[in-house]
């Protein structure tokens, strides 16, 4: 029998995530996948999985998982205290035991990788839950049972410490493509002050509140393709940074795009955190 992980408590919002769905954006399919990809990669490496294996993405921690058979587990991303093991290091959960995961003391999204990888039936090449379109498995609920795949590699790392997660990061932003839809000082305004993360942020995007970005022209932009990290500005002037489940096309102008190396910092922001932008080329 395949070994399984039972979700006893999922916490506020938990999903299965891998690298997402590549190559279907022109058919209206969001990319989806882990919001903080480097943390998913690390978690998988620590337990000897392929980097793109599926793992559990917790939002604000708070999960309890029961292991029907003993398994190696690794926790990455937003650091939490857990009933066993520690962060960024593989640890063993014995057969029949539970793993209780606390609330992160910084950051938002914690990744739980299990040796062998979570296995759910793939949809369009991915096991990810897409919160926007509903593709992939439903978000985890109490009683959800997750199957595991086969291990691929050996275990090599003892611990891989990571830098702390800032609640007030400054992230790089590449200007454009639609910066010319804003007043001359629009991009400078974006890079001047701090923006506060709104409560209604999710895997689709991080909604920000701060100095409004004013448009220089009226009218509507024809719908065009969007990318993760795009800073889309609706008519109210309050920017939204797109994350993994962003719509593949959109009609609001994009004033800039977050540097890809900095996007995981955005994905780890909590409501109330503050974000600053810095122009990069």
């Amino acid at each position: 029998m395949a070994s399984v992980v039972e979700v006893v408590v999922p916490g506020p919002y938990a999903t299965v995530q891998d690298f997402g769905r590549r190559g279907f954006a022109h058919l209206g399919v969001p990319r989806s996948g882990a919001a903080d990809l480097p943390s998913l990669r690390l978690a998988n490496r620590l337990v000897g999985n392929a980097e793109d294996a599926a793992a559990v993405e917790l939002t604000f921690g708070g999960a309890v998982l029961r292991f029907a058979r003993g398994a190696w587990v690794a926790l990455t991303g937003a650091p939490v205290r857990a009933s066993r093991g520690g962060m960024w290091a593989p640890f063993w959960v014995p057969s029949g035991e539970t793993l209780e995961i606390g609330v992160p003391y910084e950051g938002l999204r914690t990744y739980v990788a299990v040796r062998g990888g979570i296995w759910v039936p793939p949809v369009l090449g991915s096991m990810s839950t897409d919160s926007l379109s509903g593709l992939g498995p439903a978000p985890l609920e109490p009683g959800t049972v997750l199957a595991l795949g086969e291990p691929v590699f050996g275990l090599h790392a003892d611990v891989a410490p990571q830098r702390s997660i800032s609640a007030e990061p400054t992230v790089g932003v590449v200007r454009g493509p639609r910066d010319d839809w804003f007043t001359d000082d629009g991009f400078a305004t974006l890079c001047a002050g701090a923006y506060r993360v709104s409560q209604d942020s999710n895997r689709v995007g991080v909604r920000l509140a701060g100095t409004a970005l004013r448009r220089a022209r009226a009218g509507e932009l024809p719908s065009e393709g969007m990318v993760a990290g795009a800073i889309q500005v609706p008519p109210d002037g309050q920017p939204i940074v797109f994350l993994a489940d962003h719509p593949p096309t959109g009609g609001y102008p994009v004033i800039g795009v977050v540097a890809s190396a900095d996007l995981p910092k955005v994905a780890q922001l909590r409501p109330g955190d503050r974000l600053r932008f810095r122009a990069v080329r």
Binding site: H26, L27, G134, P177, G225, V227, P247, P248, T249
Partner: protein, 195 residues
């Protein structure tokens, strides 16, 4: 004009939907990138190296690609939609004439969005350009055939929706188990056939 979209994507301004479809078709044959997303006046190219893609795109022949013309799909429609009479009243024509003008429209799938497999069909007879519902429905069934503004569409799955319903089709336009999950892709020609 080619605009940078962050470090890993380019937005090519094509100026027209037909030009977007031509560039989309050519690029799909030539390059292996993460995404090529045509829009009404642009094509987004995600992945690949900009220093190689920009010269390639600039020297592409942007003329018609005859062998790449979109295939034609006929959609059998039962015109029993809840908004059929309202659309007729808004357009100032009879229900039969609404059906005649919808089946007489030469549609092309422009781009997809809103939901997986949801194609914005351009080419709707101008007399049928009606506004969206003031209050969107909380549930529109899969297969609903609808219009709003300058577009028609077939709802690929049950979802909320604000378009006006003309009828329904039993032809699936979305199948996640297929390698080619969307029946209507950018550039596909579409005709509605009353059944």
């Amino acid at each position: 004009m080619i605009r940078r979209v962050g470090e890993h994507a380019l937005l090519v301004e094509t100026g027209s939907l037909a030009a977007s479809h031509r560039l989309d078709a050519r690029l799909r044959l030539l390059v292996d990138v993460d995404e090529i997303v045509p829009g009404p006046e642009t094509v987004l190219v995600v992945g690949g190296r900009a220093d190689q893609l920009i010269p390639l795109i600039e020297q592409l022949d942007h003329g018609p690609v005859h062998d790449l013309d979109g295939e034609t799909v006929e959609i059998p429609v039962v015109y029993d939609g809840a908004d059929l009479a309202d659309v007729a009243a808004l357009a100032g024509i009879s229900v039969d004439e609404v059906i005649a003008r919808h089946t007489g429209s030469e549609f092309v799938a422009g781009w997809l969005g809103f939901a997986p497999g949801f194609a914005y069909l351009v080419g709707l007879d101008p007399s049928l350009h009606v506004s969206r519902l003031d209050r969107p429905r909380t549930a529109v069934p899969a297969g609903a055939v609808a219009i709003a503004g300058a577009y028609s569409a077939v709802y690929p799955a049950a979802s909320p929706g604000g378009w006006r319903l003309l009828g329904h089709t039993t032809l699936p336009v979305w199948d996640v188990t297929s390698d080619s999950p969307a029946l209507l892709k950018p550039g596909t020609r579409v005709r509605m056939v009353a059944t």
